[in-house]
């Protein structure tokens, strides 16, 4: 699991290079991107896509998510028990990483750990 992030990026890159070499029509290049002029609609779409990517769980984002960096990290939300003890004390699970890329004119969100991707139809973005 520790190696997923790096390996997936490497595999994606290799796959992209392979496909680029074989396809009759080249895919638009992917470049790291940030969101520009986010709106309520585009933020809602981003939240919805992330929730779907994480099997429907509730997701909380900052209003400026993906506006200053192409990377978004999701982790367990802060929690306490009924006596207000911190429950997140010894976390051994891994966070989830997403990257925003611009593919042609499309803003695409990529789940780094799995390589799955989603087009953000409501978003505008520019190369980072």
């Amino acid at each position: 699991m520790n190696h997923v992030w790096r390996q997936t990026v490497a595999a994606s890159t290799a796959a992209a290079l392979f496909l680029a070499g074989c396809a009759q029509r080249k895919s638009p290049p992917e470049v790291p991107a940030i969101l520009t002029n986010p709106t309520g609609q585009s933020r809602a779409e981003l939240t919805r896509v992330l929730s779907e990517a994480m099997n429907g769980v509730s997701v909380t984002l900052a209003d400026d998510a993906l506006t200053g960096t192409d990377t978004l990290i999701l982790g367990p939300a802060a929690r306490r028990d009924a006596k207000e003890m911190n429950l997140g004390g010894r976390e051994t699970r891994r966070p989830e990483h997403f990257r925003l890329v611009k593919r042609g004119s499309q803003c695409v969100l990529v789940h780094v750990e799995t390589g799955r991707s989603w087009i953000l139809a409501s978003a505008t973005c520019s190369p980072r």
Binding site: V57, G75, A78, K83, E91
Partner: protein, 455 residues
Amino acid sequence: MQGSTLTENQFLRSWTNELYLWYSEVPDQNPASYSTPNYFNLLKTTAVTTSGKPKDRFHFTYSTAEWRALSQSGVEAGYGAQFLVISSSAPRKVVVAYTEPGSPATEPPANLARGAQVLTVDGVDLVNATDSASIAKLNEGLFPSSSGASHTFSVLDAGASAPRTITMVSANVTSSPVQNVGTIRTAAGTVGYLLFNDHIATAEQALVDAFRRLSDAKVNDLVLDVRYNGGGYLDIASEVAYMIAGPGPTAGRTFEKTVFSDKHTTRDPITGQPIVPMPFHATAQGLSVPEGQALPTLNLPRVTILTGANTCSASEAIINGLQGVGIEVIQVGATTCGKPYGFYPQDNCGTTYFSIQFKGANEKGFGDYPDGFSPANATGSIGVPVPGCFVTDDFDHALGDPAEARLEAALGYMVNGTCPVVPAGPSAVEAGEIQTRREGTLHRSPWRENRILRR
């Protein structure tokens, strides 16, 4: 699919018997005789610690939907002021422990800073109110569960003689888990300081940056301030310990080993994998720094750690892990929370159950600190003693200010090996209890309803 109460209870009984760390200390009750919540509450040890606390203080349930919720690393609804509830019932006291830069709390006109005391919320007297409606208003205002909530506060800033009124609108605030990194020149040399508040994923990058900066500054001592750090990713705790000690004392040695009950001595009973000790990570683990990147080190033979009752779990693991490989740890502040334990949450029928399944032990095999770690001169209810000084929290100074009581004591101890005099009370035990009470409880989560401030 919802099972019957009996089948759910039977599941919990079997689950506990198989996985609970102290399964042999659980009285076997008839699962047909209880509701599921009541039955689960019985499925734990009734033993107490040396100090008289329940041995198991971490046995609880949570809504599965809430437990599975995710947030952008460090993002939480609020104002960016971490409120410390020193007294939750009247006469109450709530102060700002620290703030997040660029948040509603720190932007004009609020300009909140550490030490500010909250006196009223939306016109309700925070100190003295006792009726339910008022208390609900206090909780709603102090701890909003979503962004966009506007509330008005009367606050008394540290050192001010008169309160002022501010209005803040809650937002999804991104926390800065590492703050106030700097160096202090002392008679003992150049001392590094860093405030480390949360073991979240983004802390990995912030810590690497901080330790690199301190390494470049060639510090020969370090004060690590984790007084408000309740834990998080254990990988980050291991990285911090490595960056303090360097490769010499840590290479090939255990930061923390997971110890299950005597039924499971070689394999993790949940994953089925062999139990492999967590090493001191010499490279980043890919949380927010590319995996495999070498970590900077200070190569220090000792570290001073500032602690309090909110220092918990992964933060305590730093102390224990370093002590396990012979690094001198000096503790300044108050007794830590005492949580060397962990669990794999278990979902069942919409409820997630938490029951202690393992403890973390260091290179020497030590992991028994259910009463926490205490500075050696602490009085009252104390944990495992660590060389250092008992010092109460000081809300009159900023964190990282060399005049702040705990940091000042740490710097003094480095130079001359002595502690400030602990204020005399009616008795040593009472003094210790008073000091412990003054620690307060830190609240970060939005899921609180009306249970933080009480009547």
